[in-house]
């Protein structure tokens, strides 16, 4: 820092801690753990209603079924932090899986199949990011809506509308097997979660995505490479779709143009349930994972309880509304809290 003149501190700096703020402070602390609290409530309810729910075997199922949503949600989180959205990830899962299956039919090389799936995801992500930034398209909603359609059509066309069976052993291992009750895919999710946690909280790049989401114009004026940051989140989102394709294709031992249908909406729902803001600049990996788990647990519990499959989307929708409402209350409390502190100061 360049400032050199020192000044004595006056007693006026920093307000004294107030006791009156304790009530709202407690409410705020509680509501800040909102998503986690909701997850615990859902798990407790499910365990009470179904004796099967809280068995290692079933929990393994839940984890396996949640892996894809979790990976897509973590990537979607990065995009949403920058005020963006990526609607194309579901179609990209399908396209990557189909490309993987066709590659396997042509050359039975596991390495090549994995690279083909990851490469397809990367390619779609790069198109999204570059079209958004250099094409100066008005909003990522439009860009990724277009690539959603293109990737979906490409997957159908390449696959001839048919699923293609057969995946290399490694891919089947990652997507479809477990160590005891713990699915391999869960280990992959955990490793990726640590990586994203590091990216978002410890690295300069993480600062930049929050800065770009919080104030894009300010970020430009602060000499942050805004365009590069934007491209990077869409590239990572595409890559995540490639990884999700490996898990899906491995679990079903096939590549099909129907994979990943509406997965983008699950991912967005998970992020929103996890309290991230659509206005950008806010959200955490842990909460996005909690959101993904919540969706997985609710679906699983309803299956166990033989709830009509048509009811399930209704329940998920209601959960989204509750989660967002809790977040609105949190915001209002935080503002009230701040006014009280300003008065005290």
């Amino acid at each position: 820092m360049a400032l050199s003149t020192a000044r004595p501190r006056t007693a006026a700096t920093g307000p004294p801690p107030t006791t009156r703020a304790r009530g709202p402070r407690l409410a705020l602390a509680l509501i800040r753990t909102g998503p986690l609290l909701m997850l615990v409530a859902v798990v407790v309810t499910a365990s009470a209603l179904s004796p099967v729910f809280f068995t290692t075997r079933n929990l393994g199922n839940v984890l396996a079924q949640t892996a894809v949503i979790a990976i897509l949600a973590m990537a979607q989180l990065l995009v949403i932090i920058t005020r963006g959205i990526d609607l194309s990830v579901g179609s990209t899962v399908a396209l990557a899986a189909v490309v993987g299956a066709l590659t396997y039919e042509a050359v039975p090389s596991a390495t090549l199949v994995v690279l083909a799936m990851l490469g397809t995801g990367l390619a779609v992500g790069t198109v999204n990011g570059v079209a958004l930034v250099w094409g100066r398209l008005p909003h990522p909603f439009i860009v990724t809506l277009a690539t959603l359609s293109v990737a979906h059509g490409l997957a159908l066309w390449l696959a001839g509308g048919q699923p293609h069976r057969g995946m290399p052993d490694v891919v089947q291992l990652i997507g479809g097997t477990s160590i005891g009750w713990l699915p391999y895919s869960t280990l992959l999710v955990a490793a990726l979660a640590l990586l994203v946690l590091l990216l978002t909280t410890r690295l300069v790049w993480g600062r930049w995505i929050y800065a770009v989401g919080g104030n894009p114009d300010g970020a430009r004026r602060a000499a942050i490479p805004v365009n590069g940051v934007l491209i990077s989140v869409y590239v990572l989102s595409g890559l995540a779709a490639g990884i999700a394709a490996i898990i899906t294709a491995g679990r079903l031992n096939a590549g099909s143009p129907t994979f990943g249908e509406l997965a983008e909406l699950d991912a967005i729902a998970a992020v929103v349930i996890g309290g991230a803001s659509f206005l950008g600049g806010r959200g955490s990996v842990a909460n996005a994972l909690v959101g993904a788990l919540m969706i997985g647990v609710i679906r699983n519990a309803m299956n166990l309880l033989n709830v009509d499959a048509f009811i399930q989307p209704i329940v998920i929708g209601v959960v989204i509304l509750i989660a967002v409402e809790l977040d609105v209350i949190r915001g209002a409390l935080e503002r009230r809290f701040q006014v009280m502190r300003a008065v005290a100061a």
């Binding site: 360049a2 700096t13 690295l203 300069v204 800065a211 430009r220 602060a222 950008g280 935080e334 300003a342």
Partner: protein
């Protein structure tokens, strides 16, 4: 103020900027010396913020030259301006409401390592950044309830104080403030004015945009008046000149 032979900290000549059909700046000449406070005056839409944004690298002049300490420079980007030791408090403050004061201070110039990694992949030195930010804020007597909270929850005055402190902390040569006291009460305004005087005392060149004539009279060494993109006058802000300056601003007969 200037040592006669020393080149000015900043010299702008023939600065012109158009936005489509709007001529926001029309051949403006301007200079400011180290240890001098220059007030930039003019009615709404006169082009003051545009001039400031061009010097800060946010916009680029369509024509004109910029010299810093006698050397011609090109301010093609905010990074260029920062590199030249120019810091700006924008009219809209350009704060990140979702980030804490330290993250706001260091946005785009994060203290991080190791150096052989690309900038974005370096590890943040979060503690070092918080500590030095807290130190600057306390030295400038900016009291905050919570150093870790996003600045969006602070009062208008506190936000403005943070933006001013950020510019003061990092400017090695030139500090530009676009209406820095606009949102402030009496006590906070006083602090900002004192800070400006202190920056001058430390040899920095200061450009202040303000509509508050009493502030201008008190702190400015020189006043440049703009109207519709042109520089229409330059005066010493003395009590005798105040009426003249006001009529230059409003463009009386």
């Amino acid at each position: 103020m200037t040592a006669g032979t020393a080149p000015p900290a900043l010299r702008i000549a023939g600065a012109t900027k158009r936005f489509g059909a709007v001529v926001a700046l029309d051949a403006v000449d301007l200079e400011v010396a180290h240890g001098e406070v220059l007030a930039l005056l003019g009615d709404n839409g006169a082009g003051k913020s545009t001039l400031i944004k061009c010097v800060s690298g946010v916009h680029q002049f369509d024509a004109g030259t910029v010299e810093i300490d006698g050397t011609a420079v090109s301010l093609g980007s905010p990074a260029d301006a920062r590199g030249a030791g120019i810091e700006t408090v924008y009219q809209d403050l350009a704060l990140f409401d979702n980030l804490d004061p330290a993250a706001n201070f260091y946005a785009g110039r994060e203290d991080a390592g190791p150096r052989w990694l690309p900038r974005g992949l370096r590890l943040l030195r979060r503690r070092a950044m918080s500590e030095s930010t807290a130190e600057v804020l306390s030295r400038l007597q900016v009291g905050l309830p919570d150093q870790r909270a996003g600045v969006g929850l602070l009062s208008g005055g506190q936000r403005q104080a943070i933006a001013v402190a950020r510019a003061a902390a990092f400017a090695s040569s030139i500090v530009i403030l676009d209406e820095p006291t606009a949102a402030l009460g009496l006590r906070e305004s006083r602090r900002v004015l004192d800070l400006i005087l202190r920056l001058r005392g430390e040899g920095r060149a200061v450009i202040v945009v303000s509509h508050a004539m009493d502030h201008v009279m008190e702190i400015a060494d020189r006043a440049v008046v703009m109207r519709r993109g042109r520089k229409v006058g330059e005066e010493r802000p003395t009590p005798e000149n105040q009426q003249k300056i006001v009529s230059l601003i409003v463009g009386g007969v």
